[in-house]
Structures are given as structure tokens and as C-alpha cells.
């Protein structure tokens, strides 16, 4: 009984720590980064007034949004109107529960819920995010939010398919859905973005026989063959993730030029902020999933994961390095999200649907077949 309670307490500590200490500040600073990076891409400077280099801008934004009038239009369906912002924010945070964001800290594995369904949970929960948008569009009782909601639901359903199918090769290769186990596989066999891994090189020295045997082997050949479908699956997954998080070039649900503000047109104050932050939280979750599946999660190349190999580097320091590595990788991906946003124009709606149903769906299916064939003929 006490074991269960203790486990519950630790899970709570990890969840609260992850969400309130890491993710929420990260969300607000992603907004700041978005503004600064977009400004610099457009040859401007962006917000640089509040605090040194504008670093306190997110706090000023939060205060502003909290102090604004929280206006509820008379024509809305009150219950769903109030429910929608929570539905938009919560799923992206919930999906983080299964992400292994670090190795071990104080002997505890740094994942809130080490469950075997792993990635299925991420897909199941993150696709709930569409309800927030649909409810917002519907309950607002207004044309533009309604169109935004409709667009969003059809877009998310379309891209959910290719998103789910594009990661099946990974499960074929790793043989597990459990995210920590996928990370373990990547540590042993190389990140899935480039499974050609040179074994035997680490900061402590080079183990030549192991290195040579890892280059000249059937295993290495299979990995080079697998690199092609894995790269395809990475591209499909990445693009689908853009569509899933409603980021440009797929931000049709809130395309300002056509739909005023899209699904959140009728929202103000903190309710609007929840949609806004929910979008960025979804971005972080998406990046975290990509990092976990393709970039080896918290793994730092050439750094031994076992503290006993590296005595002068304490257990605690190593754990912190791994957590930092994970979030640095996430930050790089977030930068990529922002970078793409300020590069590409928005798709037309028929182009978006064509891309999803005619290309990505088929590519993802063919990719599964390709991986299955390679694995079937590869020696065990």
C-alpha cells in the first residue's frame, strides 16, 4: 500500500515538475523566441524593451492577458464556450506523460508514466486537442470560428493517418511501443534519424575492434538500407506534425487573412491565451515526440550513459546533463518550427487535403512495406 502511495507521490512530483518547472516556462519563452526569430528573419529586432534583451516580455504578456476583460459574447453556448480553452490546452500537456525526458535523477527514471502503449497514448491524447478547436468553433456561434473549427477537424483527421502510419517502421525496427525502450534501442543502435552508428567511440577512448566490426558487418548494411525508409518516415512525420499542431504552412484553422482569427475569434483575455499557449504547448509536445522517436531523446552521443564508466561525473550531474540534452534538442526543433513558419506561405485548402490524402498517406503505407521487406530478409 505504501509502495503505491509513494509511487503516486513521485509520479505527481515528476508531473508537476515537468509541467510547471519546464514546460510552461518553455511555452512562454517559445512565444518570445517566435517573436524574436520572426523579427530577425524579417530584418527587424522584435521585442527588446522589457528586461535585458526583452527577456521579461513573456511575463509582461501574461500580466496583460490576465488583466484584460474576459468577455463572453451573449450569443455563445456558454458551457462549451468555457470548456473549449481547457480542451485545447490540456491534451498537449497530458501527452507529455509518456515522454522520457531524462535518464535517471536520484535513482528515478525521468518519465512520468512508463507505460507500454507509449506512442499510442501520445496520438490518442494529442488528437483530443482537436475537440478544443471544434468546440470553440461551434460554441462561438459565429461564422469565422465555425469555419476554422470545420477546417481544423478535417485537417487533423487527415494528418492523423499519415502521422500514425509514418511511425510504424520504427515499431517494426524496435519491436516495442514503449518510449523508454525505443530510446534504449536508439542508444544501443544509433539514433533512428541516422541508424548508422559507430560503436566503440566515446569520450573515454576508442575501442578499435568494436569500431571496425560495427562498420564492416551485415548489420551495418541493413542499417544503411533502413536509413532510407527511416528518413522518409521522419519527413512524413515531421510534416504531419506541422499539420497536427496547426503551424504554418498548415495553419488554415486560424488563417488571419481569411478567417479573422479562426476558431478563437470570439475569445478574449485568458481564454484566448489558453488557445494560444495550447498551440505552443502542442508544438513542444510534438517536438518532444520527434526527439524521442528520431533523435535519441536524452541520449548524448559519445557520452557514456552508465555513471560507473565515468566516475568523476556524478550521478546527479549526468542526470541533469541528460535532461538538458533532451530539452536542447527540443529547443532546436522548436527553432525549426519557427523558422519554417516564417519561410513558407500557407497552403490552399485543396492542396492541403491533396497532400495529406494523395501523397503522405500512400508514402507512409509504402514505407511500412519497404521496412517490412528489409527486415524480413535481414539476418536476425
Amino acid at each position: 500500500m505504501t509502495d503505491i502511495l509513494l509511487g503516486l507521490v513521485w509520479a505527481l512530483v515528476k508531473a508537476v515538475g515537468l509541467v510547471f518547472v519546464i514546460i510552461l516556462p518553455m511555452v512562454s519563452y517559445t512565444v518570445y523566441a517566435e517573436r524574436r526569430v520572426s523579427a530577425m528573419i524579417q530584418d527587424r529586432l522584435g521585442p527588446n524593451r522589457v528586461g535585458p534583451m526583452g527577456l521579461l516580455q513573456p511575463i509582461a504578456d501574461a500580466v496583460k492577458l490576465l488583466l484584460k476583460e474576459d468577455f463572453t459574447p451573449a450569443s455563445v453556448n456558454k458551457f462549451y464556450y468555457w470548456l473549449a480553452p481547457a480542451c485545447a490546452m490540456a491534451p498537449s500537456l497530458m501527452a507529455l506523460a509518456v515522454i522520457p525526458f531524462g535518464s535517471n535523477l536520484f535513482g528515478l527514471p525521468m518519465v512520468v508514466a512508463n507505460v507500454d502503449v507509449g506512442v499510442l497514448w501520445v496520438f490518442a491524447v494529442s488528437s483530443l486537442g482537436v475537440y478544443g478547436i471544434v468546440l470553440a468553433g461551434w460554441s462561438s456561434n459565429s461564422k469565422y470560428p465555425f469555419l476554422g473549427g470545420i477546417r481544423s477537424s478535417s485537417q487533423m483527421i487527415s494528418y492523423e493517418l499519415s502521422l500514425g502510419l509514418s511511425v510504424i517502421p520504427i515499431f517494426l525496427i524496435c519491436g516495442t511501443l514503449n518510449l523508454p525502450n525505443i530510446v534504449k534501442y536508439q542508444i544501443e543502435n544509433g539514433w533512428l534519424i541516422s541508424p548508422i552508428w559507430l560503436k566503440g567511440i566515446s569520450l573515454t577512448g576508442i575501442n578499435f575492434p568494436l569500431l571496425v566490426s560495427s562498420i564492416f558487418s551485415v548489420d551495418a548494411l541493413v542499417k544503411i538500407l533502413l536509413w532510407v525508409p527511416l528518413f522518409i518516415s521522419f519527413v512524413v512525420f515531421m510534416v504531419s506534425m506541422f499539420a497536427e499542431t496547426n503551424r504554418l504552412p498548415f495553419d488554415l484553422p486560424e488563417s488571419e487573412t481569411e478567417l479573422v482569427g479562426g476558431y478563437h475569434t470570439e475569445y478574449s483575455s485568458m481564454k484566448f491565451a489558453l488557445f494560444f499557449l495550447g498551440e505552443y504547448a502542442a508544438m513542444i509536445t510534438g517536438s518532444a515526440v520527434i526527439v524521442t522517436l528520431f533523435f535519441g531523446a536524452w541520449h548524448v552521443p559519445f557520452l557514456p550513459n552508465d555513471p560507473s564508466q565515468f566516475p568523476w561525473l556524478g550521478d546527479l550531474v549526468l542526470g541533469i546533463i541528460h535532461i538538458a540534452a533532451f530539452f536542447i534538442k527540443v529547443a532546436i526543433l522548436l527553432f525549426f518550427f519557427i523558422w519554417v513558419r516564417w519561410t513558407l506561405p500557407r497552403f490552399r485548402y485543396d492542396q492541403l487535403m491533396r497532400l495529406g490524402w494523395y501523397f503522405f498517406f500512400e508514402i507512409a503505407l509504402a514505407n511500412i512495406l519497404l521496412v517490412a521487406i528489409i527486415l524480413a530478409f535481414a539476418p536476425k
Binding site: 526569430v37 530577425m40 528573419i41 524579417q42 530584418d43 527587424r44 529586432l45 527588446n48 519527413v235 523558422w339 519554417v340 516564417w342 519561410t343 513558407l344
Partner: protein, 176 residues
């Protein structure tokens, strides 16, 4: 008759779309790097950097009153500026110069001269219409205040901003 737009045939590489995406990404990252390394000229950072030294001679800033080299206020309270002012920002209360004053023959002076800087549109008509070269638009552009009363420039403030202006036509020469 429908007009057919001719579409160019795309090669396979172009249809893939990804090379074009990468080319676009390259352009945007170059812009980012240029701003970060300071190669791009960005907007002047206003309160720290000002363009005061670059202001042209004909700059139309806040309207002010000037005194001449004899220390005499040039305004004779003819009220032409008050009448021409499009937003009616100027209010003048004329007064008579007392007997025995050195400048008695000028006859009038402004007892009160107010310019409401909330109303002023910096058009410069007051400067153009003034027969005495008494009112000038100077280079002060950051006219701010916390209250409406503060934004009404009284006579002393107008002279403070205007200062002394020499080399103007001296109509009221004592020898004449």
C-alpha cells in the same frame, strides 16, 4: 470565353517541393544571421538613439516664440496666427504696451499666448502668416505630458523653447 492560364510543366525535382522549401529556408536563415551579426541595418532604437543631429533645417517641430537680440519679444499680438490656425490651437490675449516703455510704438504685446500641443498639427501656417517673424517651428518633436494642462504651452514655455533668434528683419528700429 474562359481565359486559360498557361501553366509551366514542372520537373520531378520541382514537384517534390522539398528543394524549394530548403531554398526558402536558406534565404530566411541568411536574413536571421545577418541581423544577428549586425550586417543588416535595423530601425533606429528610438529613446537611446535619436535622429536630432540629422534633422533638416526646415524641420517642422513644435511652434515657439522668439525674442530678438534686443531682448524684445517679437510678437505684437496681431492674432493672425490665432485666426489662421486650422485646429485652433492658439489663444492670444493681447495687451497694450504702457507709456514710457522703450518699445511704446509697437503698441501691443501678448499678455497671454497659449498653444495647445494636443491640438497643434505642426502645419507651420502660424510661422508663414506671422508678419513679425515672431513664431517659428523649431526642432522639438517629443512634446509629451501627463495631463492636458501640461500639454498647453504657456508664454514662458514658448519663449523657453524658442530662445533668441538673431538676424531677422528689424521692423521696429529705434531710428525710424
Amino acid at each position: 470565353m474562359a481565359y486559360t492560364v498557361s501553366r509551366s510543366k514542372l520537373t520531378f525535382g520541382e514537384k517534390l517541393y522539398l528543394p524549394a522549401v530548403l531554398a526558402g529556408l536558406k534565404i530566411t536563415i541568411n536574413h536571421l544571421i545577418k541581423v544577428l551579426t549586425g550586417k543588416t541595418k535595423v530601425t533606429m532604437q528610438y529613446p537611446e538613439e535619436r535622429w536630432d543631429t540629422h534633422l533638416p533645417e526646415h524641420y517642422r517641430g513644435a511652434p515657439t516664440l522668439v525674442t530678438d537680440e534686443h531682448g524684445r519679444e517679437r510678437c505684437v499680438a496681431c492674432q493672425l496666427c490665432e485666426f489662421i490656425c486650422p485646429p485652433r490651437a492658439i489663444t492670444i490675449k493681447p495687451g497694450e504696451i504702457k507709456d514710457g516703455d522703450r518699445w511704446r510704438k509697437v503698441e501691443k504685446f501678448p499678455q497671454e499666448f497659449e498653444i495647445d500641443m494636443i491640438r497643434c498639427i505642426y502645419c507651420g501656417l502660424c510661422e508663414e502668416v506671422c508678419p513679425e517673424q515672431a513664431i517659428f517651428l523649431r526642432k522639438d518633436y517629443a512634446i509629451t505630458g501627463l495631463t492636458r494642462a501640461e500639454m498647453v504651452h504657456k508664454k514662458d514655455r514658448l519663449y523657453e523653447l524658442g530662445g533668441v533668434m538673431t538676424g531677422l528683419v528689424f521692423k521696429w528700429n529705434e531710428k525710424k
